[in-house]
Protein backbone atom coordinates (compact mmCIF):
# COMPACT_ATOMS: atom_id res chain seq x y z
CA UNK A 1 0.00 0.00 0.00
CA UNK A 2 2.64 2.43 1.05
CA UNK A 3 4.65 1.54 -2.07
CA UNK A 4 1.67 2.34 -4.26
CA UNK A 5 1.38 5.78 -2.64
CA UNK A 6 5.05 6.39 -3.21
CA UNK A 7 4.69 5.34 -6.85
CA UNK A 8 1.80 7.74 -7.32
CA UNK A 9 3.74 10.55 -5.75
CA UNK A 10 6.65 9.83 -8.06
CA UNK A 11 4.44 9.78 -11.14
CA UNK A 12 2.85 13.05 -10.05
CA UNK A 13 6.22 14.65 -9.46
CA UNK A 14 7.59 13.56 -12.82
CA UNK A 15 4.47 14.71 -14.63
CA UNK A 16 4.60 18.12 -12.98
CA UNK A 17 8.26 18.54 -13.87
CA UNK A 18 7.52 17.64 -17.47
CA UNK A 19 4.71 20.15 -17.57
CA UNK A 20 6.99 22.82 -16.17
CA UNK A 21 9.61 22.08 -18.78
CA UNK A 22 7.18 23.10 -21.48
CA UNK A 23 6.06 26.24 -19.69
CA UNK A 24 7.53 29.60 -20.55
CA UNK A 25 8.69 31.92 -17.83
CA UNK A 26 6.00 34.57 -17.34
CA UNK A 27 6.65 37.25 -19.94
CA UNK A 28 10.28 38.12 -19.28
CA UNK A 29 10.20 41.23 -21.44
CA UNK A 30 13.04 41.76 -23.85
CA UNK A 31 13.89 45.10 -25.33
CA UNK A 32 15.36 45.89 -28.76
CA UNK A 33 19.09 46.61 -28.50
CA UNK A 34 20.39 49.97 -29.66
CA UNK A 35 22.72 48.39 -32.21
CA UNK A 36 19.79 46.43 -33.60
CA UNK A 37 17.69 49.60 -33.81
CA UNK A 38 20.52 51.38 -35.66
CA UNK A 39 20.98 48.50 -38.09
CA UNK A 40 17.23 48.43 -38.80
CA UNK A 41 17.42 52.13 -39.62
CA UNK A 42 19.46 51.56 -42.76
CA UNK A 43 17.83 49.54 -45.47
CA UNK A 44 20.93 47.57 -46.42
CA UNK A 45 21.54 46.39 -42.88
CA UNK A 46 17.97 45.39 -42.10
CA UNK A 47 18.13 42.12 -44.01
CA UNK A 48 21.40 41.38 -42.27
CA UNK A 49 19.76 41.77 -38.87
CA UNK A 50 17.03 39.32 -39.72
CA UNK A 51 19.65 36.69 -40.39
CA UNK A 52 21.63 37.46 -37.24
CA UNK A 53 20.73 34.29 -35.36
CA UNK A 54 21.86 32.17 -38.29
CA UNK A 55 24.98 34.31 -38.72
CA UNK A 56 26.26 33.59 -35.23
CA UNK A 57 26.35 29.84 -35.93
CA UNK A 58 27.89 30.35 -39.38
CA UNK A 59 30.65 32.57 -38.04
CA UNK A 60 31.32 30.19 -35.16
CA UNK A 61 31.65 27.23 -37.53
CA UNK A 62 33.85 29.09 -40.02
CA UNK A 63 36.19 30.52 -37.37
CA UNK A 64 36.58 27.03 -35.90
CA UNK A 65 37.46 25.70 -39.36
CA UNK A 66 40.02 28.47 -39.70
CA UNK A 67 41.75 27.27 -36.58
CA UNK A 68 40.36 29.50 -33.83
CA UNK A 69 40.49 27.68 -30.50
CA UNK A 70 37.02 26.42 -29.47
CA UNK A 71 37.30 27.82 -25.96
CA UNK A 72 37.89 31.31 -27.38
CA UNK A 73 34.86 31.31 -29.66
CA UNK A 74 32.19 32.27 -27.11
CA UNK A 75 34.08 35.31 -25.88
CA UNK A 76 34.96 36.45 -29.38
CA UNK A 77 31.44 36.13 -30.76
CA UNK A 78 29.89 37.78 -27.69
CA UNK A 79 31.97 40.90 -28.33
CA UNK A 80 30.36 41.52 -31.74
CA UNK A 81 27.10 43.22 -32.67
CA UNK A 82 24.55 41.43 -34.83
CA UNK A 83 25.39 43.57 -37.85
CA UNK A 84 29.09 42.71 -37.46
CA UNK A 85 28.25 39.01 -37.19
CA UNK A 86 26.08 39.21 -40.30
CA UNK A 87 28.89 40.95 -42.20
CA UNK A 88 31.38 38.27 -41.16
CA UNK A 89 28.95 35.50 -42.07
CA UNK A 90 28.84 36.94 -45.59
CA UNK A 91 32.47 37.91 -46.06
CA UNK A 92 34.70 36.16 -43.54
CA UNK A 93 36.91 34.68 -46.23
CA UNK A 94 37.43 37.90 -48.18
CA UNK A 95 37.34 40.48 -45.38
CA UNK A 96 40.75 42.11 -44.84
CA UNK A 97 42.84 40.17 -42.34
CA UNK A 98 45.83 42.28 -41.37
CA UNK A 99 48.93 40.16 -40.86
CA UNK A 100 52.32 41.19 -42.08
CA UNK A 101 54.16 44.18 -43.48
CA UNK A 102 56.99 42.32 -45.12
CA UNK A 103 55.74 42.22 -48.69
CA UNK A 104 56.31 45.89 -49.58
CA UNK A 105 59.82 45.03 -50.63
CA UNK A 106 58.40 42.09 -52.56
CA UNK A 107 56.47 44.15 -55.07
CA UNK A 108 59.31 46.56 -55.71
CA UNK A 109 61.56 43.60 -56.31
CA UNK A 110 58.98 41.99 -58.58
CA UNK A 111 58.68 45.15 -60.71
CA UNK A 112 62.47 45.34 -60.96
CA UNK A 113 62.59 41.68 -62.00
CA UNK A 114 59.98 42.23 -64.71
CA UNK A 115 61.84 45.28 -66.00
CA UNK A 116 65.08 43.30 -65.91
CA UNK A 117 63.68 40.32 -67.78
CA UNK A 118 62.00 42.47 -70.39
CA UNK A 119 65.34 44.19 -70.95
CA UNK A 120 64.22 47.66 -69.90
CA UNK A 121 66.86 47.83 -67.19
CA UNK A 122 69.99 45.83 -66.55
CA UNK A 123 70.88 46.55 -62.95
CA UNK A 124 71.39 42.88 -62.13
CA UNK A 125 73.94 42.45 -64.92
CA UNK A 126 77.21 40.92 -63.89
CA UNK A 127 80.29 42.97 -64.56
Amino acid sequence: MRLEKLQRACVALVSVSFLMLGMQMPAAASVIGTAEAIAAGSQTDSLATVRAAVSRDDVRARLAELGVDAIQLDGRLAALSEAELAMLADRLDEAPAGGDALAVIGIVFLVLMILEFTGVIDIFKKQ
Binding site: V31, L63, V120
Partner: protein, 325 residues
Amino acid sequence: MIRAALPTAALLWSLAGCAASPPLAAGLPAGASRSIELGSTPFFAQEEYQCGPAALATLLRASGIAILPPELTPQVYVPGRRGSLQAELIGAARRHGRLPYVLAPDGGDLVAELSEGRPVLVLQNLRVTRWPRWHYAVLIGYDADRNVAILRSGTRERIEMRWQKFARTWHLGGRWAITTLKPGVVPEHADAARYIEAAAGLEAAGRRAEAQVAYDAAIARWPEAALAWLGRGNVAYGDGKLDAAAESYLRAVELAPGNAAARNNLAQVLADANCLAEARVQLARAATLAAGTALAAAVAESLAKIESLPPAATGCRFPGRAWTD
Protein backbone atom coordinates in the same frame (compact mmCIF):
# COMPACT_ATOMS: atom_id res chain seq x y z
CA MET B 1 69.48 51.86 -69.93
CA ILE B 2 68.39 53.18 -66.53
CA ARG B 3 67.36 56.43 -68.25
CA ALA B 4 64.94 54.53 -70.48
CA ALA B 5 63.51 52.83 -67.42
CA LEU B 6 62.34 56.01 -65.74
CA PRO B 7 59.44 56.86 -68.09
CA THR B 8 58.36 53.22 -68.03
CA ALA B 9 58.33 53.15 -64.26
CA ALA B 10 56.42 56.44 -64.16
CA LEU B 11 53.86 55.00 -66.56
CA LEU B 12 53.38 51.86 -64.48
CA TRP B 13 53.04 54.09 -61.43
CA SER B 14 50.28 56.21 -62.94
CA LEU B 15 48.51 53.15 -64.35
CA ALA B 16 48.33 51.77 -60.85
CA GLY B 17 46.41 54.89 -59.89
CA CYS B 18 49.14 56.25 -57.72
CA ALA B 19 49.66 59.64 -59.26
CA ALA B 20 46.74 61.67 -57.90
CA SER B 21 47.33 61.88 -54.16
CA PRO B 22 48.40 65.37 -52.99
CA PRO B 23 51.17 66.05 -50.48
CA LEU B 24 50.15 66.42 -46.84
CA ALA B 25 50.64 70.20 -46.70
CA ALA B 26 47.98 70.65 -49.39
CA GLY B 27 45.31 68.78 -47.43
CA LEU B 28 46.14 69.78 -43.87
CA PRO B 29 43.02 71.18 -42.15
CA ALA B 30 43.17 74.87 -41.19
CA GLY B 31 44.47 75.34 -37.67
CA ALA B 32 46.21 71.95 -37.51
CA SER B 33 49.83 71.78 -36.35
CA ARG B 34 52.46 71.50 -39.06
CA SER B 35 53.85 68.47 -37.29
CA ILE B 36 52.85 66.12 -34.48
CA GLU B 37 54.60 63.11 -33.04
CA LEU B 38 53.15 61.18 -30.11
CA GLY B 39 56.57 59.95 -29.10
CA SER B 40 55.47 58.36 -25.84
CA THR B 41 53.23 55.88 -27.67
CA PRO B 42 54.41 52.38 -26.67
CA PHE B 43 55.78 49.96 -29.22
CA PHE B 44 55.42 46.21 -29.55
CA ALA B 45 57.36 44.48 -32.29
CA GLN B 46 54.98 42.11 -34.04
CA GLU B 47 55.52 38.38 -34.29
CA GLU B 48 54.80 36.70 -37.62
CA TYR B 49 51.25 37.58 -38.80
CA GLN B 50 50.57 39.33 -35.47
CA CYS B 51 50.31 42.97 -36.51
CA GLY B 52 46.68 43.02 -35.29
CA PRO B 53 47.48 42.15 -31.65
CA ALA B 54 50.59 44.37 -31.72
CA ALA B 55 48.77 47.42 -33.11
CA LEU B 56 45.75 46.98 -30.85
CA ALA B 57 47.94 46.53 -27.77
CA THR B 58 49.70 49.77 -28.71
CA LEU B 59 46.39 51.64 -28.75
CA LEU B 60 45.01 50.03 -25.60
CA ARG B 61 48.24 50.75 -23.72
CA ALA B 62 48.16 54.35 -24.88
CA SER B 63 44.62 54.58 -23.47
CA GLY B 64 45.69 53.22 -20.10
CA ILE B 65 45.06 49.46 -20.29
CA ALA B 66 47.94 47.29 -19.07
CA ILE B 67 48.10 44.67 -21.81
CA LEU B 68 50.60 42.87 -24.03
CA PRO B 69 50.06 41.55 -27.58
CA PRO B 70 50.17 37.84 -26.61
CA GLU B 71 47.04 38.36 -24.48
CA LEU B 72 45.22 39.71 -27.53
CA THR B 73 46.28 36.99 -29.97
CA PRO B 74 43.68 34.45 -28.76
CA GLN B 75 41.04 37.18 -28.94
CA VAL B 76 41.66 38.33 -32.52
CA TYR B 77 43.97 36.09 -34.52
CA VAL B 78 42.50 33.80 -37.20
CA PRO B 79 45.15 31.19 -38.06
CA GLY B 80 43.52 30.14 -41.33
CA ARG B 81 43.60 33.75 -42.55
CA ARG B 82 47.07 34.46 -41.15
CA GLY B 83 45.78 37.70 -39.77
CA SER B 84 43.15 39.49 -37.74
CA LEU B 85 39.78 40.84 -38.86
CA GLN B 86 38.70 44.45 -38.36
CA ALA B 87 35.48 43.46 -36.59
CA GLU B 88 37.42 41.35 -34.12
CA LEU B 89 39.85 44.15 -33.31
CA ILE B 90 36.76 46.19 -32.50
CA GLY B 91 35.32 43.35 -30.41
CA ALA B 92 38.56 42.89 -28.47
CA ALA B 93 38.75 46.62 -27.68
CA ARG B 94 35.24 46.34 -26.21
CA ARG B 95 36.28 43.35 -24.12
CA HIS B 96 38.93 45.54 -22.52
CA GLY B 97 36.43 48.26 -21.69
CA ARG B 98 37.36 50.71 -24.42
CA LEU B 99 35.08 52.32 -26.96
CA PRO B 100 36.36 51.57 -30.48
CA TYR B 101 35.46 54.62 -32.55
CA VAL B 102 35.69 54.21 -36.31
CA LEU B 103 36.98 57.47 -37.78
CA ALA B 104 35.43 59.14 -40.80
CA PRO B 105 37.17 57.97 -43.98
CA ASP B 106 39.13 61.14 -44.62
CA GLY B 107 42.55 62.36 -43.58
CA GLY B 108 41.05 65.24 -41.60
CA ASP B 109 39.82 62.87 -38.89
CA LEU B 110 43.27 61.23 -38.65
CA VAL B 111 44.91 64.59 -38.11
CA ALA B 112 42.21 65.70 -35.65
CA GLU B 113 42.60 62.56 -33.57
CA LEU B 114 46.39 62.92 -33.43
CA SER B 115 45.86 66.57 -32.44
CA GLU B 116 43.92 65.37 -29.40
CA GLY B 117 46.88 63.22 -28.43
CA ARG B 118 45.58 59.79 -29.40
CA PRO B 119 47.36 57.44 -31.83
CA VAL B 120 45.26 55.89 -34.59
CA LEU B 121 45.16 52.27 -35.74
CA VAL B 122 45.01 52.11 -39.54
CA LEU B 123 44.46 49.32 -42.03
CA GLN B 124 46.85 49.44 -44.96
CA ASN B 125 46.90 47.48 -48.17
CA LEU B 126 50.58 47.36 -49.06
CA ARG B 127 50.05 45.93 -52.53
CA VAL B 128 47.17 46.37 -54.96
CA THR B 129 43.42 45.83 -54.81
CA ARG B 130 43.48 42.60 -56.76
CA TRP B 131 46.38 41.15 -54.85
CA PRO B 132 46.12 42.59 -51.37
CA ARG B 133 48.53 42.45 -48.48
CA TRP B 134 46.69 43.67 -45.41
CA HIS B 135 48.57 45.27 -42.58
CA TYR B 136 47.67 47.12 -39.38
CA ALA B 137 49.93 49.91 -38.24
CA VAL B 138 49.64 52.73 -35.73
CA LEU B 139 49.83 56.29 -36.97
CA ILE B 140 51.55 58.37 -34.28
CA GLY B 141 52.23 61.58 -36.15
CA TYR B 142 53.11 63.46 -39.29
CA ASP B 143 55.31 66.25 -40.51
CA ALA B 144 53.87 68.48 -43.21
CA ASP B 145 57.17 70.23 -43.92
CA ARG B 146 58.91 66.95 -44.61
CA ASN B 147 55.70 65.46 -46.07
CA VAL B 148 55.78 62.23 -44.05
CA ALA B 149 53.50 60.06 -41.94
CA ILE B 150 55.12 58.65 -38.79
CA LEU B 151 54.14 55.11 -37.80
CA ARG B 152 54.73 52.26 -35.40
CA SER B 153 54.64 49.37 -37.85
CA GLY B 154 55.47 45.68 -37.80
CA THR B 155 58.89 45.16 -36.32
CA ARG B 156 59.88 48.81 -36.66
CA GLU B 157 59.39 51.16 -33.77
CA ARG B 158 59.38 54.27 -35.89
CA ILE B 159 59.09 54.61 -39.62
CA GLU B 160 58.57 57.67 -41.74
CA MET B 161 56.56 57.03 -44.86
CA ARG B 162 56.15 59.57 -47.62
CA TRP B 163 52.65 60.98 -47.09
CA GLN B 164 51.38 60.04 -50.55
CA LYS B 165 52.54 56.48 -50.09
CA PHE B 166 50.84 56.27 -46.71
CA ALA B 167 47.67 57.80 -48.14
CA ARG B 168 47.68 55.30 -51.00
CA THR B 169 48.08 52.24 -48.78
CA TRP B 170 45.38 53.57 -46.46
CA HIS B 171 43.07 54.31 -49.39
CA LEU B 172 43.59 50.80 -50.76
CA GLY B 173 42.82 49.47 -47.27
CA GLY B 174 39.37 51.07 -47.42
CA ARG B 175 40.29 54.19 -45.43
CA TRP B 176 39.61 52.38 -42.19
CA ALA B 177 40.97 53.78 -38.95
CA ILE B 178 39.98 53.38 -35.31
CA THR B 179 40.81 54.94 -32.01
CA THR B 180 40.13 53.32 -28.64
CA LEU B 181 38.52 55.82 -26.31
CA LYS B 182 38.00 55.74 -22.59
CA PRO B 183 34.22 55.65 -22.22
CA GLY B 184 33.10 59.19 -21.55
CA VAL B 185 35.72 60.78 -23.78
CA VAL B 186 34.07 62.26 -26.87
CA PRO B 187 36.57 63.54 -29.46
CA GLU B 188 36.13 67.15 -30.51
CA HIS B 189 35.70 66.02 -34.12
CA ALA B 190 33.32 63.16 -33.28
CA ASP B 191 30.20 62.54 -35.31
CA ALA B 192 27.05 61.79 -33.28
CA ALA B 193 25.95 58.77 -35.33
CA ARG B 194 29.44 57.22 -35.30
CA TYR B 195 29.87 57.76 -31.58
CA ILE B 196 26.44 56.40 -30.63
CA GLU B 197 26.94 53.38 -32.87
CA ALA B 198 30.21 52.71 -31.04
CA ALA B 199 28.43 52.98 -27.69
CA ALA B 200 25.73 50.61 -28.97
CA GLY B 201 28.52 48.14 -29.76
CA LEU B 202 29.55 48.18 -26.10
CA GLU B 203 25.92 47.57 -25.15
CA ALA B 204 25.65 44.66 -27.61
CA ALA B 205 28.85 43.17 -26.18
CA GLY B 206 27.31 43.24 -22.71
CA ARG B 207 29.61 45.99 -21.41
CA ARG B 208 26.73 47.89 -19.79
CA ALA B 209 28.78 49.97 -17.36
CA GLU B 210 30.99 51.37 -20.14
CA ALA B 211 28.01 51.76 -22.47
CA GLN B 212 26.22 53.79 -19.81
CA VAL B 213 29.14 56.20 -19.40
CA ALA B 214 29.36 56.54 -23.19
CA TYR B 215 25.62 57.21 -23.61
CA ASP B 216 25.72 59.79 -20.83
CA ALA B 217 28.64 61.51 -22.56
CA ALA B 218 26.80 61.37 -25.89
CA ILE B 219 23.69 62.93 -24.33
CA ALA B 220 25.78 65.68 -22.73
CA ARG B 221 27.23 66.48 -26.16
CA TRP B 222 24.14 65.86 -28.32
CA PRO B 223 21.06 66.21 -26.07
CA GLU B 224 18.73 65.76 -29.04
CA ALA B 225 20.14 62.40 -30.16
CA ALA B 226 17.21 59.99 -29.76
CA LEU B 227 19.35 56.87 -30.16
CA ALA B 228 21.57 57.90 -27.24
CA TRP B 229 18.43 58.15 -25.07
CA LEU B 230 17.29 54.75 -26.36
CA GLY B 231 20.68 53.38 -25.36
CA ARG B 232 20.56 54.97 -21.93
CA GLY B 233 17.11 53.39 -21.48
CA ASN B 234 18.38 49.97 -22.53
CA VAL B 235 21.24 50.07 -20.04
CA ALA B 236 18.89 51.18 -17.24
CA TYR B 237 16.43 48.44 -18.20
CA GLY B 238 19.21 45.86 -18.17
CA ASP B 239 20.11 47.03 -14.67
CA GLY B 240 16.49 46.63 -13.57
CA LYS B 241 15.93 50.37 -13.14
CA LEU B 242 12.39 50.67 -14.48
CA ASP B 243 11.82 54.33 -13.63
CA ALA B 244 15.03 55.53 -15.25
CA ALA B 245 14.41 53.31 -18.28
CA ALA B 246 10.88 54.67 -18.73
CA GLU B 247 12.08 58.28 -18.60
CA SER B 248 14.86 57.65 -21.14
CA TYR B 249 12.61 55.76 -23.55
CA LEU B 250 10.00 58.50 -23.25
CA ARG B 251 12.63 61.10 -24.18
CA ALA B 252 13.69 58.96 -27.15
CA VAL B 253 10.08 58.70 -28.35
CA GLU B 254 9.56 62.45 -27.93
CA LEU B 255 12.69 63.17 -29.98
CA ALA B 256 11.96 60.53 -32.61
CA PRO B 257 8.22 59.72 -32.65
CA GLY B 258 8.78 57.46 -35.66
CA ASN B 259 11.31 55.19 -33.98
CA ALA B 260 9.72 51.76 -33.59
CA ALA B 261 12.42 50.43 -31.25
CA ALA B 262 11.97 53.29 -28.78
CA ARG B 263 8.19 52.75 -28.69
CA ASN B 264 8.56 48.98 -28.40
CA ASN B 265 10.97 49.34 -25.48
CA LEU B 266 8.82 51.96 -23.77
CA ALA B 267 5.93 49.51 -24.08
CA GLN B 268 8.00 46.77 -22.48
CA VAL B 269 8.89 48.84 -19.48
CA LEU B 270 5.27 50.01 -19.13
CA ALA B 271 4.10 46.39 -19.23
CA ASP B 272 6.61 45.50 -16.53
CA ALA B 273 5.21 48.38 -14.49
CA ASN B 274 1.68 46.96 -14.86
CA CYS B 275 0.55 49.82 -17.10
CA LEU B 276 -0.92 47.47 -19.69
CA ALA B 277 -3.30 49.88 -21.39
CA GLU B 278 -0.51 52.41 -21.90
CA ALA B 279 1.82 49.67 -23.13
CA ARG B 280 -0.73 48.58 -25.74
CA VAL B 281 -1.01 52.12 -27.10
CA GLN B 282 2.77 52.30 -27.61
CA LEU B 283 2.96 48.83 -29.13
CA ALA B 284 0.21 49.55 -31.61
CA ARG B 285 2.20 52.54 -32.83
CA ALA B 286 5.41 50.47 -32.86
CA ALA B 287 3.76 47.75 -34.94
CA THR B 288 2.67 50.25 -37.58
CA LEU B 289 6.13 51.84 -37.69
CA ALA B 290 7.97 48.52 -37.81
CA ALA B 291 5.85 46.99 -40.59
CA GLY B 292 8.13 45.77 -43.36
CA THR B 293 11.35 46.45 -41.44
CA ALA B 294 13.76 44.18 -39.62
CA LEU B 295 12.09 45.09 -36.33
CA ALA B 296 8.63 43.74 -37.29
CA ALA B 297 9.27 40.32 -35.74
CA ALA B 298 10.55 41.74 -32.46
CA VAL B 299 7.53 44.04 -32.13
CA ALA B 300 5.13 41.20 -32.95
CA GLU B 301 6.78 39.16 -30.21
CA SER B 302 6.30 41.98 -27.72
CA LEU B 303 2.62 42.21 -28.70
CA ALA B 304 2.11 38.47 -28.19
CA LYS B 305 3.75 38.66 -24.78
CA ILE B 306 1.59 41.50 -23.59
CA GLU B 307 -1.60 39.84 -24.83
CA SER B 308 -0.67 36.70 -22.89
CA LEU B 309 -0.22 38.56 -19.61
CA PRO B 310 -2.89 38.03 -16.95
CA PRO B 311 -4.74 41.15 -15.80
CA ALA B 312 -2.45 43.12 -13.54
CA ALA B 313 -2.80 42.27 -9.86
CA THR B 314 -1.54 45.66 -8.75
CA GLY B 315 -2.10 49.06 -10.29
CA CYS B 316 0.06 50.89 -12.77
CA ARG B 317 3.34 52.05 -11.27
CA PHE B 318 2.98 55.44 -12.93
CA PRO B 319 -0.69 56.36 -12.14
CA GLY B 320 -2.06 59.27 -14.11
CA ARG B 321 1.19 59.77 -16.04
CA ALA B 322 0.69 60.77 -19.67
CA TRP B 323 2.97 59.02 -22.17
CA THR B 324 3.48 60.62 -25.50
CA ASP B 325 1.20 59.59 -28.32
